[in-house]
């Protein structure tokens, strides 16, 4: 077997493996999509891969049942979490890298250690805090909690990112008359764009899909976020699979859209942040 033929075979093997991975990940999503557009009768009868019927009835009913309210709640929470997390972690990472103070390096190392904490243990105190502050129905509570969950990882990603940006770039701005914060915002932040996008996307997705805290902290069904609302669809005597699938598709769209927009930066951001490259 010559060299060229061997390379082709290797190529084939690689693509087959990729194909298997893709199928494993995409098939459930495809099944969900398929279920959401099949008439109810067919969901139970047909197992054909290609849908044999088509209806938007489930989507109509999902929207009629007020599923757009949780979508709106989730959007508010996720966007709020993203902004808060990004701003705080950016300044935290900057402080760890650029200033000298006692405990600086230890703080940087301990940041990820907070993930060792079982989150379940925090639910009761969080609930009591929010209740005593009268913030149980407010999106602020969930935004703060989600920021707490996303922050350590984002600080970590951004720290690796800022570390790679030469100090001289900022110093050049200082010499040209910029202030410390001015140089950071005008020079370092634009240079760290892929990292900021990666961190922001992580916070957004984390907040969008977070169920446990949302379930405990939100007691009013008008304040439900998407994961909590989806769960409530499962709790009836009869599970309406068509409606559940349609709601799930709607719940996935905002995240898919974000990925679509940010795909260019995400790969670089995540690879760099986790030290792969």
């Amino acid at each position: 077997m010559n060299w060229r033929r061997r390379r082709q075979l290797g190529q084939l093997l690689r693509f087959s493996l990729l194909g298997v991975v893709l199928i494993v990940f995409i098939f459930p999503f495809y099944w969900m999509l398929r279920t959401s557009i099949l008439p109810t009768q067919m969901i139970y009868e047909s197992t054909a891969l290609i849908p044999q019927g088509f209806t938007l009835e489930h989507y109509g009913r999902v929207i009629d049942q007020g599923f757009l309210t949780p979508v709106r709640n989730s959007l508010i929470t996720a966007v709020g979490t993203t902004i808060l997390t990004t701003v705080v972690s950016l300044f935290a990472a900057f402080s760890i890298l650029r200033y000298r103070y006692p405990g600086r390096r230890r703080a940087a190392q301990l940041v990820l250690l907070t993930y060792m904490f079982p989150h379940v243990a925090l639910i009761i105190p969080m609930y009591m805090l929010a209740a005593s502050l009268g913030l149980l129905e407010s999106p602020i509570t969930l935004i703060v909690v989600h920021t707490m969950l996303a922050l350590p990882f984002c600080v970590w990603i951004l720290q690796s990112f800022l570390m790679d940006i030469p100090r001289e770039l900022e110093e050049a701005a200082l010499v040209e008359g910029a202030s410390e914060v001015g140089a950071f915002l005008r020079i370092t932040v634009p240079q760290a764009k892929p990292g900021i996008i990666a961190a922001g996307t992580f916070a957004y997705i984390m907040s969008w899909g977070e169920y446990m805290f949302a379930y405990v902290l939100l007691t009013d069904s008008d304040a439900f976020t998407v994961p909590v609302a989806l769960e409530s669809l499962l709790s009836g005597y009869v599970i309406e699979w068509g409606i559940l699938a349609a709601a799930s598709v709607l719940a996935t769209l905002p995240v898919l859209a974000l990925f679509w927009l940010m795909a260019k930066y995400l790969g670089e951001g995540i690879a760099k942040g986790t030290g792969v490259v």
Binding site: P166, E168, L169, E171, A172, A173, L174, V175, E176, G177, A178, S179, G182, I187, P190, Q191, K193
Partner: protein, 363 residues
């Protein structure tokens, strides 16, 4: 335009002393090079001058105003960094105009100034591109443009040529010198390359181990080094340096005696010394202007540089001497293995204290 004064300037990093108490004045409008081997504290000194590094002790004055605690942006100086530190997310125009923008100069006025500098540096067509798309030489010009456009009192350059290839380095060196002559601002340029310093500096500050070793005009350092370190560091190649002992109005090199100018050894009978002779001050006997000291030698190696040749000479004292000649008549007559008589003028013999390294003639 400004003169700079450093007063007992010190910088310590923990137990490491990077700059060990420097006192000096840089003349208004001069092109001053801070020269030294890596780790000698020259960049730290420049960064303290810029305000990017806070001195542990001592003060920096620009035109008699104490600026030690003034932030970099308020010192009216600019800096070209070793890495150039161009901002890739901005266009060349925005890079050059950043300082003017920070000063609050109106856009029209800003653009006029940028256009003028760009045409001076021949980068007018590149103004709307990202610096990342430019060649090394062009990037260098952008960095220079950024520091010139504000017309600062002082321009600091931290190894600005080291990122360029050899040919561009020479070109840029000449450009720097021309620009300096044209605008007359004080330039302070840090380099490890003594040829850069010798070629364009008005004054050289030679540093070693955090201290200033010698400060003067390039030819002063070349002809009258105050320390053995200067003699060795300046010149291509550096000075020949040999161990010797002073006796009877001459210096004994261990079998061979040299007679230096009388006043330099009169006060040092019996001292152990280091004897220095510039390679270009050793001549074959028939071309020598001064035949006070004539040595018999054998040529062991010849290195050819086109316009000059280096001859390694064995004069029977263990260590070899290097003779540098630019005389084409010598090129034709001298080859490896030849025996030759060489001469050294008595004024060309430098003596340094064997322990302190200080020049005896300067005492």
């Amino acid at each position: 335009m400004a003169k700079i004064t450093l007063e007992n300037l010190r910088k310590e990093y923990g137990s490491l002393t990077a700059v060990d108490g420097i006192d000096l004045t840089i003349a208004d409008g001069s092109y001053t090079m801070i020269l030294g081997p890596s780790g000698c504290g020259k960049s730290t000194t420049l960064r303290m001058l810029a305000g990017l590094e806070q001195p542990t002790d001592g003060d920096v004055y620009i035109d008699d105003a104490r600026v030690t605690d003034v932030p970099p942006g308020d010192r009216n100086l600019s800096m070209v960094f070793q890495s150039l530190a161009l901002w890739d997310h901005k266009t060349v125009r925005e890079n050059i105009g950043f300082g003017l923008k920070m000063e609050g100069v109106a856009e029209a006025e800003r653009n006029a100034a940028i256009d003028e500098i760009a045409s001076l540096l021949q980068i007018s067509e590149k103004l709307e591109q990202s610096p990342a798309a430019l060649s090394g030489g062009q990037q260098q010009r952008v960095a220079l443009g950024r520091s010139l456009v504000r017309e600062p009192d002082v321009i600091l350059l931290d190894e600005p040529l080291s990122s360029l290839d050899a040919k561009l380095q020479l070109e840029m060196r000449a450009t720097l010198s021309k620009i300096h002559k044209e605008i007359g601002t004080t330039f302070v340029h840090v380099t490890h390359d003594q040829e850069d310093a010798m070629s364009i500096a008005d004054e050289i500050i030679l540093m070693n181990d955090g201290e200033v070793v010698q400060h003067g005009a390039p030819m002063e350092l070349f002809d009258a080094p105050t320390e053995e370190f200067v003699a060795d560091f300046i010149g291509t190649p550096g000075m020949n340096l040999l161990d010797g002992t002073v006796s009877d109005g001459a210096v004994d090199l261990g079998g061979v005696a040299l007679t230096p100018a009388a006043e330099t050894i009169a006060e040092h009978p019996g001292s152990a010394v280091r004897v220095g002779v510039r390679p270009n001050r050793i001549y074959p006997a028939d071309a020598a202007p001064d035949t006070a000291n004539t040595l018999a030698a054998e040529v062991t190696l010849v290195e050819t540089f086109g316009d000059s040749r280096w001859y390694y000479l064995d004069v029977g004292i263990g260590e070899e001497l290097v003779m540098k000649s630019a005389d084409t008549a010598v090129f034709g007559t001298l080859a490896e293995g030849d025996a030759v008589s060489v001469c050294i003028g008595s004024e060309d013999i430098h003596l340094f204290d064997a322990t302190s390294g200080r020049a005896l003639s300067a005492a």
